[in-house]
Point group: none
Chain length 199, copies 4
């Protein structure tokens, strides 16, 4: 284990995170073996411990990697000046695209994060809450300026958006031929119709 870290080291560590993501996504945390991860990287099982102190740490890193970027995106979106509909589209697009770009790490975050001990989960929890709250904020903003129907429960709405995106995310990861943009379009269509007023 290295504190400073050469270039090669950090490259390999990235590779390790990605390999772990792929393996965890396929077999689940408990179903996956450290040997599987190592093999996917082209190294031997024991060598993995040069990059992770434990399998659990690997899971933590994968989860973090999985949501970090998409939480940052959300900050940008929420703080922007666009109308409600545009923000919703941006959110869904960012969320679903993550499933393609970030390897399978986001799926792992969704399905396996609960196997982390509380200590390691706290940072993730923060980020997740942050995400949900900002999304809730978007809905509240929408309600305030009349775009969203008054009867909509913003907390529920945020959960629903997240839930739907994750449900499709699973399908996206499992089927690489699924047309991402079509899914985005149909999801936003449903959600906008579902939440906004009709002219």
């Amino acid at each position: 284990m290295q504190e400073a870290g050469t270039k090669k080291y950090s490259q390999q560590r990235q590779a390790a995170v990605r390999a772990a993501a792929a393996v965890f996504a396929e077999k689940g945390f408990h179903g996956a073996g450290t040997k599987d991860i190592a093999e996917r990287m082209g190294i031997k099982q024991g060598s993995l411990y040069y990059y992770f102190k434990s399998k659990e740490e690997a899971l933590g890193e994968v989860c973090l990697y999985g949501i970090q970027e998409y939480v940052e995106h959300m900050a940008t979106i929420a703080d922007g000046e666009q109308p409600f509909e545009a923000k919703l589209v941006a959110t869904v697009t960012s969320h679903l695209s993550s499933y393609r770009e970030r390897n399978e790490a986001l799926k792992v975050y969704n399905d396996e994060r609960l196997y982390l001990p509380k200590a390691r989960r706290s940072r993730l929890k923060e980020l997740g809450s942050d995400y949900r709250q900002r999304l809730e904020g978007i809905f509240e903003e929408g309600k305030a300026n009349g775009a969203v129907r008054q009867s909509v429960d913003c907390h529920f709405a945020a959960q629903a958006v997240i839930g739907m995106c994750n449900a499709w995310g699973d399908l996206i990861v499992r089927d690489p031929d699924l047309d991402l943009f079509m899914v985005i379009q149909k999801c936003t269509d449903l959600l906008i119709n579902g939440f906004t007023k009709k002219p």
Copy 2:
């Protein structure tokens, strides 16, 4: 192992299925131990094998138990004479209620069924497909009689309904205080607004 089975036997087997459902739901198939299941039943680990030939068989039974009833409900709903909106409400109600009534078995079906070997998955696949197709049929019917917007993709719509219900189902299982009827109401509200024409 019994073919016909005494009264006691079938009672205990039911108990075993429920215990397995709870344990698999909490720890995942690979994270759960047969010891956990047995302990939850109040028997010893080895005795579990009087009721299941293998842990895998237990998973299979749990999955079947998890969806059987709700697939049957769907048949009734789809074949009924109600208008689209009513059928959608009935579907969501049935689906979400399952998460409370059937213990955690439906969650297990969703999250762990892929760890079953193909042979044991085929029956489940049938049932799952059946469900989705009937739901698709409801949407098509809705389109035909003008209730559903023409732009709606019925295949997508069915997946979306299922996905959203499962996403909320997870939350329902995890939080026993969550108000089921409120969730049902808000989900159907979103979906009806999202898919149907406005008057």
Copy 3:
């Protein structure tokens, strides 16, 4: 367990011994299960313990059953008045026929008796020694009256006869189509030529 024993009891016990013999012969003592034995008798596993106190006792009974008769035969043969050649033929005939008649019990005696604890083996050891000694006696008698070559070591000869018979016994048990009388004839031919003087 019964001390007096009804007619049915002793019939069933015989059946149990034979079933155990067959199963031990096929799978070996440690490879065989009490369940296998019970199934072969058409009863349930637990019921077996009505006839045997333990699996080990079953092995003991099988072994005893396997050699008892053939040891008795040997007494008759050895004490008879026939010439050496006739006694040898009778011995081989009795030994090899046992493999067909007594089910597989003799094979079990040969292959599995060593797994019995010493206490239970002592009676068998006696019988076995008795057999070998009488056979040795036949050879000594043969030497004394000139039928057998002087260079023959009677102890070795007895072991050789037993060994050869057991080797063929295995084949006889394994292949039910093997012609018993042909084997007997060829074996005796070999042995007589091997041990006796030529005229």
Copy 4:
């Protein structure tokens, strides 16, 4: 598990095969534990699986080890130019010596090979058949050149030689003080007298 294998690896694997041979010979395949084998090597039970994928594989390797060399010897003997008697002596010598040199592996091959699944047994079957056929060939040659009596059935004769050697082999393994050369001499004496013509 290693494909090519370091020096240490292959040494340890050899040790594992020998340890397994000893343990299987003493307790039988089903009666022996992987723990016994490991302990005999001075390693822990789990470490055994670094050298064998399964207990069954261990049995396969032991069997192979047990006969390989003696099958090769047979090829040399059969293809040689010696007279029948010499070849028979060489065969018996090679066979019985194997019981001393190769540890208990040959005994294991004889007694336990049937517990191997067919797939793993095929190679052994080949080798065993090869051996028997070559031995038959020796007898046929002997008949052709007049050394062996015309009434001898070569197939029977080969089986008889093998059977007798194995019977004595058992005794040799069980009793380390048994004089090997005496046994060899007496066996060949019996067999030569039994099968060949008298001058």
